[in-house]
Amino acid sequence: MDNFLADHSRELIQLSAEHLMLVGLSILGAIVIGVPLGIAVHQKPQWRTFVMGFVNVFQTIPSLALFAVLIPLPVIGGIGARSALIALVLYSLLPIVANTVAGLSGVPPAVRESAVAIGMSDRQVLWKVEFPLALDVVFTGIRIATVMSVGLATIAAAIGAGGLGMFIFRGLAMLDTRLILAGALPAAAMALLANYGLSLIERRIRGRYAPTERST
């Protein structure tokens, strides 16, 4: 065992870093796309069916299949991290969009009405009142998406994107349980840590006001 760790420690650090990059970049991408999309759905409810349908569809595609489908695509696809990032962004969209919409529509009507009545423009109502009040729920979505993509990113190794999945797939091929665990355990730890860290931030956002009013 000592030998195993010593032999693999450098690779473990390398693959963990790749894994973090995959998750971090894809979540960043999903926030940049998903939060504005959620805001758009909130402001134009007629888009809801279309947008929610779009982000839902990806959840129904098995991840391995989605990674495989992206390989032959020009520009966005191919072997490697780019395809993996795109797939991870698509998977992370649903919780982020759904929670943005839910958070915004959870703002009490009296609060929204008084924001309009004191003379805020639509944009001010959104950014000064609705979005800050929705932020904790938006953050819940980001947390769910992050934990989910730590797991999904292991599968990205199948299309050459690197990450801790490399250990897992190699271990499966070589029937080496230690290798499988060397990939799986750090990934699980990463998911738990992300969950814990992000829920701390979430609680801080929520706890600043009305600690008991909302318990989503």
């Binding site: 009405e113 009545a117 003379g119």
Partner: protein
Amino acid sequence: MAAPASAVEFRDVSFRREAGRAILSNVSFTVTEGESFALIGRSGSGKTTILKLINRLLQPSGGDVLVDGRSTRNWDAIQLRRRIGYVLQEVGLFPHMTIAANVGIVPSLEGWTPSRIEARVKEVLLMVGLPPDDFMARYPHELSGGQRQRVGVARALAADPPLLLMDEPFGALDPITRAELQQELKRLLVALKKTLVIVTHDIPEACVLGSSIGLIQDGRLVERLPPEQFLRSAHPEVQAVVASLSVHTRS
């Protein structure tokens, strides 16, 4: 000397939701500057609709609503609303902002300097009887219902608007706090020479705060008189309302 200018005027105003029944029909009245007009009536009679027509949360289906002599259609909605302090029953304080930020919101939207906002926030909090040092840094959920209502009034007064609209502002309060706040509001109105349109279920409140009382029945303004005369009105609906009051106080 010129007659006092009209602050709010309804000219034959009707309002209906699309394809719905009329909520207001042919309502006409004038509220002159410095006057306070209390609207009473049963739930669903259209009182709140009248307030929302004044700050253009709604627009009339027929007739004209004038604020400072200008039709609300011709006002920029945002400019109009910033000249009007609005207090709702549920207060609508912003839960994620401190009391200071809540009270200073309209001045900050108007681009006042932070030091001027802070000075003004302290001033209006004192007016409504809340010591600024104890309250400015707190959040709305840390306050009692009565304190929140006071903050609501302070917020409405912050940018010194000439006109105040209140929708059952003290409806959720216990009778003692309620009476206290009514007296204080009365004092403020006189001192600050504000025009007020207030909606209430409560006749004593209407009598304390209103220089005239209007009764809304099924979307029509059926009676409008100063308090003493209102209580003696022969109109059957007024008598019904006044009768319910005397039963209420005797019990």
